[in-house]
Symmetry: D3
Subunit: 282 residues, 6 copies
């Protein structure tokens, strides 16, 4: 899901206000205000690019006369030393936008790169890598976009566009005397008709109970490989299956091989290493 331009501009303006405050005292003290020049955006590490359009908007909001030339599209693999874009025009403006532009680009490319590592780790399997709602507050539209650039698929965007009955919902409702089956049926009756119903379960028995009650998707929470395989077997395709919890680059491949349809990973967005990307003035 691609954020639309006004949405990005609002996020960018907010970031610039935060970083520029009353102005860039260093640049204004030192750099002649009419000096022209050219900068390059250079990858310093391997990874997958995401956020190049956001970076362009940053520079254009700082100074609409800057010429930003994008050389590589989002989703492309980067090698160290590769030139990603050039910016030409007022040097002081380029310096004022540098940090904010890189903060976006490094984080979003960090997300895309980490996602791509998971996607590659399970290549050959039919499973898909999903993100979660564990995104940085305020950046969700951009972070979900970065996951897609890395080859991942988005789980629901927010609480209003998907039924996901989680452990805490179940705990509350069971304490009211409802069975898992009752709960799924209630969801079926009350929830928007156009939405599938996903249920988080922690045992194979619960998985089957949820499927019997009509759940469309079963989220297996922190199960062992053994249990996941058993769940896949016994559900027999009557529901989609999503593995969740404790996924790492080390265990993701065997998990994919259990036959689950989806693997969702909070760390794609909540624990990301920025991708090293620099701005260099020529």
């Amino acid at each position: 899901m691609k954020p639309f331009r006004a949405q990005i501009e609002s996020i960018v303006d907010n970031a610039l206000a935060e970083d520029l405050g009353g102005g860039d005292v260093t640049t204004e003290a030192l750099i002649p205000p009419t000096l022209q020049g050219k900068a390059s955006i250079i990858a310093k590490a391997s990874g997958v690019l995401a956020g190049i359009e956001v970076m362009r908007i940053v520079f254009q909001r700082v100074d609409s006369s800057l010429q930003v030339n994008l050389l590589i599209p989002d989703g492309a693999k980067l090698k160290p030393g590769e030139m990603v874009a050039t910016i030409e025009g007022n040097i002081a403006s380029i310096l004022k936008g540098e940090r904010v532009a890189l903060n976006f680009l490094q984080r979003l490319s960090g997300i895309a790169s980490e996602t791509a590592r998971y996607v590659e780790a399970i290549s050959g399997s039919a499973a898909r890598i999903l993100d979660t709602r564990k995104t940085i507050p305020g950046l969700r539209p951009l972070e979900k976009y970065a996951v897609r650039m890395g080859g991942g698929q988005n789980h629901r965007y927010n609480l209003s566009d998907g039924i996901l009955i989680k452990d805490n919902h179940l705990a509350v409702l069971r304490s009211q005397g409802l069975s898992l089956k009752d709960i799924v049926l209630r969801a079926r009756q009350s929830a928007p008709h156009e939405m599938k119903i996903e249920v988080e379960v922690s045992t194979v028995a619960e998985a089957l109970e949820a499927v019997d009650a009509g759940a469309d998707i079963i989220m297996l929470d922190n199960m062992s490989l053994e249990e996941m395989r058993s769940a896949v077997d016994k559900v027999e395709g009557h529901a989609l299956i999503e593995a969740s919890g404790g996924i790492t680059l080390e265990n993701v491949k065997p998990i994919a091989q259990t036959g689950v349809d989806f693997i969702s990973i909070g760390a794609l967005t909540h624990s990301v290493k920025a991708l090293d990307i620099n701005l260099e003035l020529e």
Copy 2:
């Protein structure tokens, strides 16, 4: 520097709008709207707490009738299983705020915890751990606060409150025929009088040239331990010295032992692992 309440509320409202969209379809389909209950916020890993007040504001913005009791203050060390806070009141409201509250709490505590690891690694030295401007766009006031909760110190907040002459400034000005000395002198003349002047250098010779020209602080960029020691020796206290670039938990101690005054680390905010913290309904 502590964000003031209206600033936090604005960040929180934005995050809630992002996650709640048109509403929480699952909770509204399942949970009786008047059901009351109690939830606990529980640490699942060791670390340092930050963001507990932000978490409180999240729940209060979702539903001002929720009672949020904070049990542990920001800056405290957490052990796995420790209860951080309780929330009492409308269950549906608690469930609607859960994810956003945890997204803040996990990220900010992640930053505080990582900062604390660096601070501890150099304990015994006189050096101080600094953050940078490499923060997530839109969260800077909170992220800089989290660094302090972890025992770190804040570098300048943004471009308007500190003179830092970086490599790109130097590159531009040198291509105009200015020497490092010329540049520092120009800064001295043009910059706000109440600000110190910091200069990024990459050799010991440059460090001395900058000090001679009147720089107040020298940032040693990606120098070897050897070079750092030499710079500290030769500057002889005529300027503060900050080490920067390529700092890790492995090399931070020997760097501190070179005698530098400050060590600044972008990864404190740009490459953070969320601290595992959960919400559990009783």
Copy 3:
């Protein structure tokens, strides 16, 4: 889906800014600023109440010292002359909030009332009344809420929380050489896995083709009663069926009796008569 308070407050503040501009010149010229009193909100026509909490927020944003007592909950049936709420406190403040409060209450109750008329018209059938995205720009969270208060059910909230392949999507893709089947399959592959796929069709043959291709919901666009009956028969429960287009209070009952699952009606929000509700000072 229930809007959360900060969302309503923002809509309310915007409406108050619009109506108060630089102040209420009449009230300030005439009414003693400390005069206290009491007003009643009185229904002047039969209908279903919606927006009572929004009304309360309007008065509290004008003057937080006003006491607003709600006597009837949203969703209740109103008779002419029935008292809905009372407001006590500063008379000038009550007069300043009157028009904005009533504008919300009359529109939302108008939507709830019209929805209730449709719901009642099909009582006895298993069909459900749905709204659409044809809401007034800026008021969607409130208008969708009002539909529910009238006994209706919400269709998708916005473009990001439901797959609905409409006539214009089909036109574009067919002109690219894709069949209806191809299109549904592409949606199946590319769309978020947690979403059902709904397809708009205009013939029974298309309905069956869409179901065969795996569509979860079929929207019958402007079909005759005869065709709808045929579609319901032939789909045989393999997909949910939604009737859409040209629905009126006159034809909704026979449509419901065709056996469709849902009937969606744009006029619930795009062509609404305000419910007559007044504010009277005692």
Copy 4:
């Protein structure tokens, strides 16, 4: 009074945020992102056009590269099948903006069309059709504009630009022992000198009392035709006269023929039928 562009853009951005949320999942799943094409905006019913510029802004905020060609100006009469505008460019962008654009265009044209029906109904008389402050919260600048496009005239924009002493003001002040005359005199003394004073009355006697006290405009509230004629006769042109309350397309002509100067109609904006206008892809 014409809203200025930044005002419209803000309303439009808000509406797009509401409808696009995290993105358009259907379009993004199905439509090739670089596909180009052309759409037409077509009237499906007779009426008066309003909002064509707002529609243009919607598409430009979604994607500034879209070419929007307006073929018919606001205020023009539409026949079913008439082409109002064309949009050329990225098909996905057109589809993303479609609903919001039509929501504005259908509502504003609905208002203009209803206004035009009233204006036509009284053609030949000297009376003017006025709107009220009973507009949809947040859309007042656009709705008041639409009334003018339909040939109506705007009553005061908001509480700060006109003195209108209404029943509730009178009730409060009479309970304080003031006569209608006292009240008008107080308004004369305290109100901004550049504003006329309008008073709502419910009998001919009150009308005359208000005129004697110096009211500039008399609003006759829910009077019979007989009473209105009498009021017009006896006021003898010493004040402007506005008829208000219970106006319908059936009774508006005889009301106009009583000789009142203005007829104000809340239903122009509070109870409007959307004008049927479509977007069709070629």
Copy 5:
């Protein structure tokens, strides 16, 4: 016209964001965060108080636990040394809000005090002192309020609530071949019926021409005392008369004595001396 609370809060939050940026580094470095205390707001010069409620809101937005006690109401005369309010609670919070609170209070009281000097200068005459639209961008609701606190009366709030035909309108329309009479008649026909029509004139002849054409108010622009007296005589009460342009404390009394109804003074808001008011910690 009194700004409503949400409007003031928005202005205040903006001002606090501007002044606090990333935080108050001095206070946070020095003042123990839990230290409690009390501050007094003290007038240092004679004048008229305005903005005391805004000041209260500033402190409450910084820290809602601060106790602000207002001792003197807006509109009261201040003597040097008089205590205006006290603030009790967290010292750090008081120090953070000090400057913004005083900036509002000093400016608004400066406006009220200057207005009061003009009002006093013409005491005994029937003329009223008016402000203009020459206010500081963003502060109009507060500045117009301050004028009233000083005993002045507000001219129109903005371009949408009063017809004022100024020199530039006249220049354009005369170059189109229209006479002053034509112009006033056109205004009469096209303008909102509830508004009076004011015309700026520069000679007595024009004043009479405007009155004959039906203008309700005549603005005499930069006329001599002689001319003003003549205009008052000849208009004979058929229109209100406003003197404007070049008014000073020296010439305002004789101007009032010419018999004009109003004297409008841009300097009340565009050229104001702040009133000296301090915050002192006990």
Copy 6:
């Protein structure tokens, strides 16, 4: 420190919303909507120009088709009658933007002009004229810019970019038993390392105590010329010295001659006379 464009646009949009409200009733009633023309911005008094770019943005936000030609740059000296800029295009748009454009231009040029008078008064001395944080809430970025255009230098932008220990900080800390020396040392330890430490003192003895404790800048508050001279002598260049309090155009020259480095003047922004600048239609 130069505000960036998005910042100015936000301030400008706010000002236009304030002044245009629901529209410009006079212009819309009188001026043909397609009429084209040309206006000139003319200085009516001597002074220094500031805000010409803001003025341009005002007109472009009202109507992006207006052609604004700037003839004189900010910082230039103006003579009465000098033409500053021309605006060509839609006359109605020019009239709608006139007042807001002039409100900005007159205030900012008033600040620049007053600053220039102080700068000129001390020409020949080495002292610099500084502003303060006593700016109009919401306009600080523009007002600080105007001070620079007048030849002044900016003191800290806000509370987050400079350590300034003021009388109230000292009062609180002394009441806690700390000496001036203790206080400066605490600031040294706790404050951001890149900031200089400025201390307000009221006697020469305090000035020396602060310098001994390591203060970088000493603010002499309301001292006599004699005392200032003594302080300059005794500090012997170990700290920068700023004179503050009670500065006027009469006493600024002797103050500069005492040898202080800086003279800060609140009145540059809190008590400014607007510079007379007009818009004239050709």
